[in-house]
């Protein structure tokens, strides 16, 4: 039994994909100054949307429904947080609870308590001609489901968009100093609403990937805390697109390491392996975090008029 490095990396990227998608959504939301604890809710909503969509109209419809469902979850969040000016942390917690409950309820209503079995089609990995033959990183990065390539596009897009467009600038300014944005004619409420919507779409997409590129069916609570991990990844990645990519990859490979170690059948308590990704994250943080700068207004409610 040996560990094939290329295969390990491929699995790491696969595991990192939904985490990174959700984390990019959260990155945008946090750069606008909001912490979206409803992300987990958007993710489970997306997973359920994917099941419904894909059962009715194939994979494309599945992803579309995933995005719609994720957006719906955060629209509620945006309404409560931006219009009612409610505390985002409580609202996010409630939205997640709501989404977990609602998806469970609808799932049972539509598929009965017996569930949907492994009924939806899933995306197969697609090799990028040429690139997938690169040693080590070839299969890891270029033999993945289409969703992973969409992630690359998203990452590059954000990496370009944040510093190179006025919209990106407006987003960052809103997260730092909403009053400055307001003075410059930008509505912080509008910016945050769009950011939340994007965050919901990405969370939904991440849920969709779980169903349509990995498991092939829905299970209640299958997001299993990934939304919260995605939020941690944003912090670990210091709110930068490149940092988030690295952090997601770190988390993905730490999880893979955990799986691989268990599969080797060593006589070590399995909890040790399960804790590995979190311990590794702590160690990396201690080594690198020295005064990471969060967006200055992160978590602070707006008190300017919409």
């Amino acid at each position: 039994m040996s560990i094939d490095a290329a295969e390990f990396m491929q699995a790491s990227v696969r595991t990192a994909t939904p985490l990174a998608l959700a984390a990019y959504g959260e990155l945008v939301v946090e750069r606008a100054g909001v912490i979206n604890l409803g992300l987990e809710g958007a993710m489970i909503a997306g997973a359920f949307g994917a099941l419904v969509g894909a059962s009715a109209g194939g994979i494309g419809a599945g992803f579309a429904m995933a995005v719609v469902a994720g957006c719906a979850a955060t629209l509620l969040m945006a309404w409560v947080v931006l219009w009612l000016r409610a505390d985002a942390v409580i609202a996010g917690t409630a939205v997640t609870l709501l989404a977990l409950g609602l998806t469970g309820t609808l799932y049972r209503a539509l598929y009965g308590a017996q569930g949907a079995a492994l009924s939806v089609p899933t995306l197969a990995p697609v090799a990028v001609p040429g690139l997938h033959q690169l040693p080590w990183i070839g299969p890891a990065f270029f033999e993945q489901p289409l969703a992973t390539y969409a992630l690359y596009a998203m990452a590059c897009g954000l990496w370009w968009w944040l510093p190179r467009t006025h919209a990106g600038l407006a987003l960052r300014a809103t997260g730092e100093r909403p009053d400055a944005a307001l003075a410059a004619g930008i509505s912080p409420v509008t910016v945050r609403a769009w950011a939340l919507l994007f965050g919901g779409a990405m969370g939904g997409l991440a849920g969709g990937v779980l169903v349509l590129a990995q498991v092939g069916t829905f299970a209640e609570g299958m997001s299993a805390g990934r939304g919260f991990i995605a939020i941690a990844i944003v912090v670990l990645g210091r709110w930068s697109p490149v940092g988030v990519a690295l952090a997601a990859l770190l988390f993905g490979s730490a999880s893979q390491l955990q799986y691989v170690f268990q599969s080797l059948g060593w006589p070590v308590p399995y909890q040790l392996f399960l804790a590995l990704p979190y311990v590794l994250t702590l160690l990396v943080l201690a080594g690198t975090q020295r005064r990471a700068a969060a967006p200055a207004s992160l978590g602070a409610p707006l008190d300017t008029a919409p």
């Binding site: 510093p163 190179r164 006025h166 919209a167 990106g168 960052r172 944005a181 700068a293």
Partner: protein, 479 residues
């Protein structure tokens, strides 16, 4: 096109129980520089924010270029050719000057191009700004210059400047006014909110005075004098005080504080203060001047005991009063009541219970003694006007008769009466035997006050005569 670039008519605005504006009006003629004066809290900023679309008036009308408008946001105002320099910075500290100036645009963002435009604008206006430096690495003077360039960047035809000179050096102010006069001469229009009466009379074409949310005076600057202005501002019939201090006491008191060969390096290892030697005597007022980055703030913080130098010896008295420049960051906690803010002094050493009834009574006494106008010691510090906050801070720091007082820009942004009050307090403190060190960006504030002058330049501290020219030369490093 109308003769009037901006008209505000019978504007009212209420904030909770506070009536900020009570039917105030303002008429700004095209191609003029219009000064708006008023005491702290008179409603100047509120009126300007309404003109700029950042706030909707409860009542009243806004006309721009003769056309009645309803502004939904500052974006709408900017589109109509308005630009505004805000009293309290509206800059994003974590962004570069160029990014801040570009904020509010659309489409692709080419920071290189923006930086180039900023350089051009900077050269044209004489306002030196490095487009690539992050704002949080800059001093308040530079930040103010960025605010101004930001307003100009939108190609504004009408500029509103809310106390732009409060943090500028006299030279910078002169350059700004020079440029503003040219701007106006070329057909632009400017509204200048200020507390400096002399300034208003000398650069403005027209003057409007607000009091308690109402217009009490509009006149041609050339046709009125300073006494008229003071009467309009305060509603009292009196002349402004020109000297708050009698000439210096001849006897030199004992040494209360001494810095010997003090050097300071900042977090990045840059040398900010180099082998400074300063001696403060009881009963004297030492004026300090220095441009941004000259090490002046580090020097003052070492003197205040708030910064430990990298090298050299420091001898300070037990009690040091400190009035820092950034009041809301370093001196008061906005969410705390006045009593609580008062209790901050000495909080580190306190043990056991807080004697609140005593502290509250003490605060009330101090408020009365130092003319802090607030309903009670229990109100949030954040609800006080800037002037009253400053009087409160000065009063708190004076309360246990410190042997040494350090004040940084203590009257910035304060109106006539608050300024007089604060300066009088500092003078009284010296008279009662404290050593008082006052830093001000505006050297003219120091001249009638200081017994000695220290000027910092490039980390070096030099003593100069209390003479305007000598100080001005030392500020730029000339002999």
């Amino acid at each position: 096109m109308s003769d009037h670039a901006l008209v505000l008519r019978a504007v009212s605005k209420q904030f909770g129980a506070v009536r900020a504006l009570a039917g105030a009006s303002l008429t700004v003629r095209r191609g003029t520089l219009h000064a708006v004066l008023g005491e702290n809290g008179a409603g100047k900023t509120t009126l300007m924010r309404i003109a700029f679309g950042m706030m909707a008036p409860d009542e009243g009308e806004v006309e721009i270029d003769g056309r009645p408008v309803t502004l939904s946001s500052s974006a709408a105002a900017i589109a109509l050719g308005l630009g505004m320099v805000h009293q309290h910075f509206t800059l994003v500290p974590a962004m570069s000057a160029a990014e801040n100036i570009a904020l509010g645009g659309r489409g692709r963002l080419d920071l290189g191009a923006v930086a180039e435009q900023v350089r051009v604008l900077s050269a044209r206006t004489g306002l030196a700004v490095d487009p690539d430096t992050r704002v949080d690495a800059l001093g308040v003077g530079a930040q103010q210059r960025i605010e101004i360039l930001k307003a100009l960047h939108g190609n504004a035809r009408t500029l509103i400047l809310d106390e732009p000179t409060a943090v500028l050096t006299p030279t910078e102010s002169e350059e700004l006014f020079g440029w503003l006069r040219r701007f106006v001469a070329e057909g632009g229009t400017a509204v200048l909110v200020t507390h400096k009466l002399q300034e208003a009379l000398s650069v403005a074409d027209d003057v409007t005075v607000l009091r308690r949310g109402e217009r009490v005076l509009t006149a041609r600057a050339a046709e009125i004098d300073i006494v008229t202005l003071v009467r309009a501002l305060t509603g009292e019939d009196r002349a402004p005080e020109t000297r708050v201090r009698t000439p210096r006491s001849q006897t030199v008191g004992a040494v209360v504080a001494q810095l010997t060969d003090v050097s300071v390096r900042d977090a990045r290892g840059v040398l900010r203060v180099h082998q400074a030697n300063v001696t403060c005597h009881a009963g004297e007022i030492i004026g300090v001047a220095g441009v941004e980055g000259s090490g002046v703030h580090e020097l003052l913080r070492v003197l205040a005991g708030r910064l430990t130098p990298t090298a050299g010896t420091v001898s300070l008295p037990d009690t040091v009063g400190f009035v820092p420049e950034d009041r809301l960051r370093d001196a008061v906690i906005e969410d705390f009541s006045l009593s609580e803010n008062f209790a901050l002094r000495g909080a580190a050493a306190r043990r056991g219970r807080m004697p609140w009834p005593e502290l509250r009574a003490h605060t009330a006494r101090a408020m009365a003694a130092h003319d802090v106008r607030a309903p009670s010691p229990d109100v949030r510090a954040g609800t006080l006007s800037g002037g009253n906050q400053q009087k409160f801070v000065v009063g708190r720091e004076m309360e246990n008769r410190p042997a040494l007082v350090i004040a940084e820009n203590p009257v910035r942004g304060l109106d006539l009466r608050a300024t007089e009050h604060v300066l009088r307090e500092l003078a009284a403190s010296a008279a009662s035997g404290s050593a008082v060190v006052i830093f001000s960006t505006d050297v003219d504030e120091l001249l009638p006050l200081a017994d000695r002058m220290l000027v910092t330049f490039a980390g070096q501290v030099r003593e100069v005569p209390v003479v305007r020219d000598a100080i001005a030369r030392a500020l730029v490093g000339a002999a």
